[in-house]
Amino acid sequence: MVINLLQKINFPNLSIKQRLVLQLVIVSILIAFSLFFLIKNITNQVMTTTQDRLLTASLNSIIDKFYTSNKDISLDLPYDTFSLLGAISEDKLFYKINYNDKFLTGYQKFPMVLKYGNLRKPIFYNLIFENEKIRVAAIKHSIYVNGKKNLLFIKIGQTLNFQSSISSQITNNLLLIILIFLVLSIILVLLATRISLQPITLLANDLNKRKPNDLTLVKNNVPIELAPLVLSLNSFVKKFRGVLRTTETFVAEAAHHIRTPLSIVKSESEIAFLKSKTKSNREHLRNIIRSIDETNRYTTQLLDNAMVLYRLEKLEKQNFSITKSLVHLINVFKPAADLKDINFSTTFNFKSKFIVTDKLLFETAIRNLIDNSIKYAPIETNINLDYKFFNNVHEIKIKNQINKKLNTSKSALFKRFYRGQNSKNIIGSGLGLSLVNEIILGLNGQFKILKYKEKEFCISVQFFC
């Protein structure tokens, strides 16, 4: 029944900890109450038994004091017995003794009883006499007078001060103990719940600390109860990884399969363009080529994204020279930059400073940034790559001029597929900056846009040692 009750107390809106605490506290209170009443009951029983034994002892001493005189029976009531009976607790004393069916001595109006016990086993009653509750021991005892058997009916009763005074003491002490027990058990409950829920808390913290792209398996040093959860988490992660892999493969394959025909279309269109004579033909072909370029950019960015997602999960750290890498990337873009008469300048305050990180992702990020700069920089301007290593921080800055002011917020620039206001004539997918941000964050770096409002655009990428 208690378990049903506990199951009902499964308030849906409470946390596990609160539920646990509530249930345990309720159980504690129930136990406390039960204990209280149980102990009280036991002590009451003990008290009654003690009193009963006293009464029995008194009966014994009374029996000893019967004597016959002149064929008559008489009783020399024992003073000490009566004195003792009341000594402990100032209880009132009543008695009645009948000899056969005749009243011998005592209180005539003493209440009747149904049955009498005997000296070895008196029968006890709870009666009321003179407005007092009394505990009565009743026996009948045979006594031989002149060879004839006679019966003595003896009832002796005592008020219950004996019980109640000690009872109230016990109750007070008991209440105190139970209260302490409750307080202690509540403390223990709180402690125990915290400790038992710790694995969950640890697991939760562990999962919270993860970066969004973290797809490493969850460590399985958890208690048995959490093992299924961790197992399913991990299988989910594996599935997701698998999905990612599949997607990545799919995307790569798709990209490849898109690119090849795209390349063909582009080159054919270019040939046609170069051969075309009329202005309108040239325009049409130019438009076709622009569309191809746009498609190509999107495909590239999508592929990059997939690659980054996958790669961030399993970084391949390498020790390489930042300056060497930057120089290489500049060389890669030089022809494209030259077409727009854009010059690269570099300011490195280190000839060759090494960094340990995923080289591929690093270069992808920088590549995207340089590509971005070239796209948006007006012709005959300068793109500056600045690198410095200071206070254990690698900082790469890329500065270029832009045609128009950008009247947008920084956060908007990071949004996927965001195209700036000055990007009308520029082919791009808008994935660039958000991708760079993801990569840099994944490599534990910081990506900031320092200037973007005036006609200058400056970004900063920081890596901490």
Partner: protein
């Protein structure tokens, strides 16, 4: 205030119908038709009067009636309770007070600080002792040229050795009539077997029995008796101060110490006043004024050094000698011994 006793004589007559034998009746306090506190006591009025007067001074609105009677009459009065209307019952018969309380004739006393009085002086918040009394032997100085008996044994041998001297010269309580006397004798029996030997000897010398301590003291003072056995100590000491013939002896073998106690009878209509009076009775000034009259304060500790003091315990043991059979047996034996 004493004038009102004339009016009260009329009450006496009506009380007679009640079968209470009133010894004295006095009223104190403001003039009223009916008392605010009706006290029934076995203690002499001269002993209590100063206390009552002091009380009435501080409690100007309470009119007190102080009625004295014998201890057994007091018991009878309270147990025929339908007509009685007393608010406080004072008696030196501890056993009778105990029986009253045990049998449900007493009300709970309120406002008594347990720490203010010894634990043996209160029973169940229904009986409270306010003064202690040693039970002594008084001897006529003039007639005792022999060694003064320090123990009962001594007394027995003196009596046995000088039968002629002490023939008809011993006086004690008639325990058939006096509740107090019965108490003393029964407690004597409890304490030692020498009691019956003493009783025998006393009987053989035709001991005189009377109702009360005062009469016994008068007898010794007038040299009518040479030995008064089982006398209330305070009375003896008071008298002995003035009457130089009286020597008070605290027997060495044991000296009984009794408790003068008070109960509030269940029919009382002035419970509150009774409680106030009791509180005063037990207070320092109350106790002091009793001591002035020769009584011992309940808190007195010196008395316990006077001899082998045996305090009669205020417990249900006291009921035993009041048991029909026991009492009958005791009395018959005592009578047999004393009246040979």
């Amino acid at each position: 205030m004493y004038f009102s006793s004339i009016f009260l004589l009329i009450f006496l007559i009506t009380f007679k119908a009640h079968s209470l034998v009133i010894e004295t009746i006095n009223e104190y306090g403001p003039k009223k038709n009916y008392p605010d506190l009706n006290i029934l006591s076995s203690t002499d009025v001269d002993v209590f009067e100063p206390l009552i007067k002091l009380f009435v001074k501080d409690n100007k609105q309470i009119r007190i009636r102080y009625v004295t009677a014998s201890t057994s009459d007091i018991y009878k009065e309270i147990t025929n309770s339908n007509k009685s209307n007393f608010d406080l019952v004072i008696s030196s018969a501890m056993d009778l007070q105990m029986k009253l309380a045990n049998d449900g004739f007493a009300l709970d006393i309120e406002n008594i600080e347990k720490s203010a009085i010894p634990e043996w002086s209160m029973w169940r918040k229904q009986i409270v002792g306010f003064s202690i009394e040693p039970i002594v032997t008084v001897i006529s100085k003039a007639d005792f040229n022999i060694k003064i008996p320090k123990t009962r044994r001594d007394l027995i041998s003196i009596l046995r050795n000088n039968p002629n001297k002490f023939y008809k010269k011993i006086i004690t309580y008639d325990i058939n009539k006096s509740g107090a006397g019965f108490l003393f004798a029964s407690q004597d029996e409890r304490q030692s077997e020498s009691f019956w030997r003493l009783a025998e000897v006393m009987g053989s010398l035709k001991t005189k029995v009377v109702c009360c301590s005062s009469k016994m003291l008068d007898a010794v003072n007038s040299r009518e008796s040479y030995i008064a056995y089982n006398i209330i100590g305070s009375y003896a000491e008071q008298r002995a101060r003035k009457q130089k013939n009286l020597i008070v002896v605290y027997p060495y073998d044991y000296t009984l110490l009794l408790l003068r106690s008070a109960i509030i009878p269940k029919n009382s209509k002035n419970k509150a006043n009774a409680n106030i009076f009791l509180k005063f009775l037990l207070s320092k000034p109350g106790q002091k004024i009793l001591e002035k009259k020769g009584m011992l304060s309940i808190k007195n500790k010196k008395i316990f050094k006077k001899g082998n003091i045996k305090l009669i315990r205020l417990d249900t043991g006291l009921l035993v000698y009041l048991d029909k059979l026991k009492r009958k047996r005791f009395l018959s034996e005592w009578n047999e011994a004393l009246f040979q």
